[in-house]
Amino acid sequence: MPGDVKTAQSAAEEKLVAEFARARASLPGTEPVGALRDAAFATFKSAGLPTRRVEAWHYTDLRIAMRDALPLASAPKPDAALKQKLEKLAPRIADLATARLVLVDGYFIAELSDAMPKGVSVSALSDALAKGDATIVEALSAPGMGQGDAALALNTAFMQGGVVIDVASGKQVAQPIEIVAVSSESSHAIYARSLLRVGAGAHLTLIERDVSAAAQAEQRNNALVVMVADEGQVEHVFVPAVLNSASTHVASLLAVLGAKASFNSFTLAQGGGLLRRQIHMRFDGEHAKGQLAGASVLRQKDHADTTLVVQHVAAHCQSREYFKTVLDGEATGVYQGKVIVAPGAQKTDGAMKSHAILLSDNATMNNKPELEIFADDVVCGHGATVAQLDEDQVFYAMARGLPKPVAESMLLEAFVDEATDRVESEPVRVYLTSLIGQWLSQRGRA
């Protein structure tokens, strides 16, 4: 067994090394940022792309999926055509007047973005890094989270775009902010990192929508750091793009919650190549509440991996994780959820659930819900199920005159709705349900 034998660098890894050497000088940021990049790249270089040998990547082999490393995307030139395309690719969500921030190939394009509501300030990541603001640099590196993760380290090393959003203390922003990340048509790699800092007592809804105009494969590796100060409240929804089937997308979310803060995040994965959704959430202050929910609807050779690490550092916090997966074709679903209760994090209340339905004999679901508990006065539990559609239920619906595909779609919709119900905003929920409906109707046709 070649357990500790260091495998040779893959072609993609070699290219990444060359790309870093080439791009290093032109990547944004002052020297502290450069040092951060170098350290992160060293982490990547020693670990290589994650393989199944890495426990946190047990069911997703990025090294195999990333045969080749695509070149870094260069800064785009915004023009009228792009604007038009954007409206087509990401039409406005019905009944929801969001304030949009547009990222093209990871780069923040102010010209295409909307004015921000009062109390919200925005700057491009490159500007923030160029200023070398120490607090921003520290916040971006989200200390203590996702350390040693080679994919996240790669993002840190290459981060070229993204936005920094600040919500002033006490501001309860009614208008949702929407980050629309679009990729242009060339085949390339995008490394964006964004930062959301929500001041004490402030409220914000943030929607992240990724869309793609590319027909070719792309490689996205994005990260969002969310810091919610005491008594702040954030509602967050992420809809990754349906990419070309040869694409890879690593989407990291690192959230830190202050005392009595609340964070509710939802992810809808609709397949398209390999998607790795990794979320780290840490409770730094007492009496905070965090909920991570999501739904994955997958077909063909889609691979969607949801990996969560929830760290209860402070006492009296509540965490909820709730995920639904529907698998058709030869799709693979992965759910790994780890709840860590640190010594002293007493009165922690944690509940995690992952439910999956397999529609095809060639689909695979892997569940790994973990608990790691070092405090005694806690209530933590997890449940995981894998099953198929209930034949009796399908029969019941059919007996009432519904054709089989309709009956199945109805049941699947109800199954997934239990997850989308956790999104607070009604228009967003309707939007998510419509996307799931589209997926289901395509299934009916196939």
């Binding site: 060639n362 790994k368 973990e370 209530v379 539990g381 995981a384 894998v386 198929q388």
Partner: protein
Amino acid sequence: MAAVQETVDRVKSVDVDAYKYGFVSDIESEKAPKGLNEDIVRFISAKKNEPAWLTEWRLEAYRLWLTMPEPDWARVDYPKINYQDLYYYSAPKSTPGPKNLDEVDPELLRVYEKLGIPLREQEILAGVQERKVAVDAVFDSVSVATTFKAELAKAGVIFCPISEAVHTHPELVKKYLGSVVPTSDNYYATLNSAVFSDGSFVYIPPGVRCPMELSTYFRINEQNTGQFERTLIIADKGSYVSYLEGCTAPKRDENQLHAAVVELITHDDAEIKYSTVQNWYPGDADGKGGIYNFVTKRGDCRGARSKISWTQVETGSAITWKYPSCILRGDESRGEFYSIAISNGRQQVDSGTKMIHLGKNTTSRIISKGISAGHSNNTYRGQVLAQKRATNARNFTNCDSLLIGETCGAHTIPYIEAKNASAVFEHEATTSKISEDQLFYCMQRGLSAEEATALIVNGFVRDVLQQLPMEFAVEAQKLISISLEGSVG
């Protein structure tokens, strides 16, 4: 509440240092020199007059072992083992091949007496005429005496040390040895294959229901001796056997390595019930000196409608690394795993099971109860897998952990992998401390905090205790109360 009080008193009286079974008996033993190389492997094989194929089998395993890395994925932490600083063979020095008890070293018998093994006069367990237990006692590495042989022979059951089976039933040993846990399986199993000393061999012929419960008491006795048991149980078509394994070990200053391998095979309609009570020395209050228990246990439900059931009560050992598993190969076969793992002091437990569903309509059930106290860490690590062709695989898993005290840890790491749409897997896990409400309720009825805790813990593990054969259930209950000493109240 006399019984509870008795438990509490007992718990108080037994300090971690005052391990009940911590004594050393002075029996001369014959040892191979320290360390491991091909010569030692040959020496062990020669000592047992093994046939050439077995010697070669051992050597092959040894060569493979040299190329393997030591696994480090488990949530356990211990100083690196120097495998060259261990003895790999130690046989009690007594007259060659003692065939009856009179020939056995009386010192050895006294050891058993202290352990409470009914060996000498108890041909029929006191007071229980119908229930009989056959004991294949393992003292350090060699099975010294086997009782009830005649009665078993009448039923056609073969129950003997594996070293003996190699000579008397070579065709069975050759056919089944390593067929469930291959020599290349994992680091410790491979090591075991190279140097295994002895263990039990059981063969139940077709259609036979074994007339009594079979039992082996393991005991690690010699200082610095690695204990490498090898157990092989074969239940032929339509047969049934219940096998009990109980362990106690005397106190030691240095950590002792135990790397056993247990292989179970069930053919069509056969059933094996394998129960373990493990109470090895857990180390002193600082976690020094306990047993390292790195065991590979696996059952292969080879035939249709066969069943393998593992029940374990783990209270001892400094480190437990143990995953009794079932390969559900036969159609409609069934695997079960019932476990109580209790850790206290500085104990580290990383245990669980694997249910590998391969055949059609296979079912499995996992009930795991972990209790951690003191500074211990208790991890459940389990895998449930349905392969593509495992139509209608069913699994139910329930892992509950109970935490007593602020400095212990309880962890759950299940791997649930379904590659077949008709698989139905359910998994649930909870971690909690004894609820204030429950305690309050009991105390309101006049129980002290300690009594109430004892009562609740007993209720917590009852699901599993019920799966144990009678003889073990009593012993297990005692062990549980001793293991939680100092942590209650």
